[in-house]
Amino acid sequence: MNEVILRAAKISYSYDGNDPILKDISFSLRRGESLGVLGPNGGGKSTLMKIIAGLLKASSGEIFFNEKSLTAYAHYPFHLFSYVPQSSELNPTMPVKVKEFLDFSISLFKIKNPQLIDELLDLVGISHKKNSLLSMLSGGEKQRVLIARAMIQKPQILLLDEPTKGLDSKGQDQLLNLIETIKKRDGTAVMIVDHNINQIIKSCQNILCLNRNYHWHDHKDFLTKNILEDIYHCEFEHLLIHEKDLNAENPHNHHFCEHDHDLAPATTSHPFIRRKP
């Protein structure tokens, strides 16, 4: 079994002294494996991701990179991981081209490889967009550029915050397949927050279900319908979460809960996960 590359022990976090949004969250991630973080909106998924990425400081708890506590590092070990924010957080005011955007990081890490931009854009499948303005790209293309940027420093861990947000079913599948390719090619560990339950369960070895104070973390084989219902605070019928079930029919549809308005599907006849009437 691969060694643990990232471990969180009893992480808690609250904004400005309010009720904790995260309480005693523990999980681990092994080299070359992936951890899918599921849960409803406002459940603390992105907050947890930002804590791991060093953008927020946990109120309590400890984080270990390669079994070395953060407190033992002189500086935050940014070199070990790459964080991919949601593409909607990019500032579109400046006319930045794709190649210029990648060059910001290449210059920062002082990498001397004139072919690197072409290689990265080839990897993510948008080499024809090299000279395009980032602001002119579609959501999926922007996300691919962000993933290309994340691979510049060959990270041990890839942290992805809702990479499929705003993409259609095809775009979501293509992007998650790309992440799977990178994982296999480089042995990169992946921690991914996403709303696409089916795809996450399919592609991740471990699942972290998170809803504020409550969380569940284990191998995906131990995930049950009850656990997901508890996390999402709603009941599902025909919840078939294991790979054999997912492969059986169309995996593109999402679950639907009242609090996930932005993910409301066009129909309620979901083949796998459907809210009870």
Partner: protein, 279 residues
């Protein structure tokens, strides 16, 4: 018309004003696109308005003729106020504009009261509010050159880091860029630039020099290099035209610069609109 130009070579103080305008407008042109892209336009207004408090205190302590002492004292007070604002607005959850709005009204009000009660010469304030090239000295020219050199060193050389932070702040932080240092550096530089530009443009109108060139450049440019080049050229050309007109017609320099820059922006937007329609 010829005297418009010959004046600048005949009188030393006008030559200082002209060269000072070139240096300051180049600096403003270089920094302007970043101010807009980083969404710091209102912050710039807050710093420029809060210089009035620094000025009021300085003019209570020194005579207006003690230019360097007034400058240094105003600069120190403004940097202190700016650091407070920068600290209060770094990656905060609440929108920054409310605090900035409260802050700049309060400091400006306090400045006016202090000036009314304690200023050694009540007549100076108007010149500082709207700019007066007659106040520019040789020292101001050196200061303008210093701020240009500092801006080139601080902004132009590590430009990719500034752009990375501006375009994707979280990505930049997690790539190891220390955003907090850049945040404070940017505002201290802005405070320095604004205090240096007060005599030329005035505390109320210096914002025009900081915003119009960048706005123009971001509207018309198609890549990053072009953005900064256009902003700097636009700023320098129209600031020089403004200062020449201010001298020719005896107008306040800040107001003339503001009107010239704004007119150039408006005219170019109009021409672009007509061009787009005809195309």
């Amino acid at each position: 018309m010829n005297t418009f130009f010959s004046d600048f070579f005949e009188y030393d103080f006008l030559l200082y004003a002209l060269l000072g305008t070139v240096f300051l407008s180049m600096t403003c042109g270089l920094i302007s696109p970043l101010i807009i892209a980083r969404k710091n336009a209102f912050m710039g207004a807050a710093i420029s308005h809060s210089t009035l408090l620094g000025l009021a205190i300085s003019l209570s302590l020194f005579e207006a003729s003690q230019a360097l002492l007034v400058f240094l004292s105003t600069l120190m007070i403004t940097i202190f106020l700016t650091l407070f604002l920068a600290y209060s607005t770094f990656r905060q959850k609440l929108p920054n504009d409310s605090l900035i709005g409260i802050f700049y009204n309060a400091t400006m009000a306090l400045g006016i009261i202090i000036h009314t009660l304690f200023a050694k010469d009540q007549s100076d304030l108007l010149s500082f509010l709207f700019g007066n090239i007659l106040l520019l000295t040789k020292e101001d020219l050196y200061l303008s050159l210093i701020i240009l050199i500092i801006t080139i060193l601080v902004i132009l050389i590590p430009m990719k880091k500034w752009l990375f932070l501006t375009f994707d702040e979280e990505g930049a932080i997690t790539s190891g860029i220390r955003a907090q240092i850049y945040h404070y550096t940017f505002f201290v530089l802005l405070a320095f630039l604004i205090v240096t530009s007060i005599k030329l443009a005035g505390t109320i109108l210096v914002e025009t020099l900081l915003l119009v060139p960048g706005f123009f450049a971001l509207k018309f440019s198609t890549n990053i290099r072009q953005t900064f080049a256009i902003s700097t050229i636009f700023s320098t050309v129209f600031a020089v035209i403004g200062i020449i007109l201010a001298n020719a017609f005896g107008l306040p320099s800040g107001a003339t610069l503001a009107v010239v820059l704004f007119s150039a922006l408006l005219l170019s937007l109009l021409i672009k609109r007509v061009y787009d329609l005809l195309r």
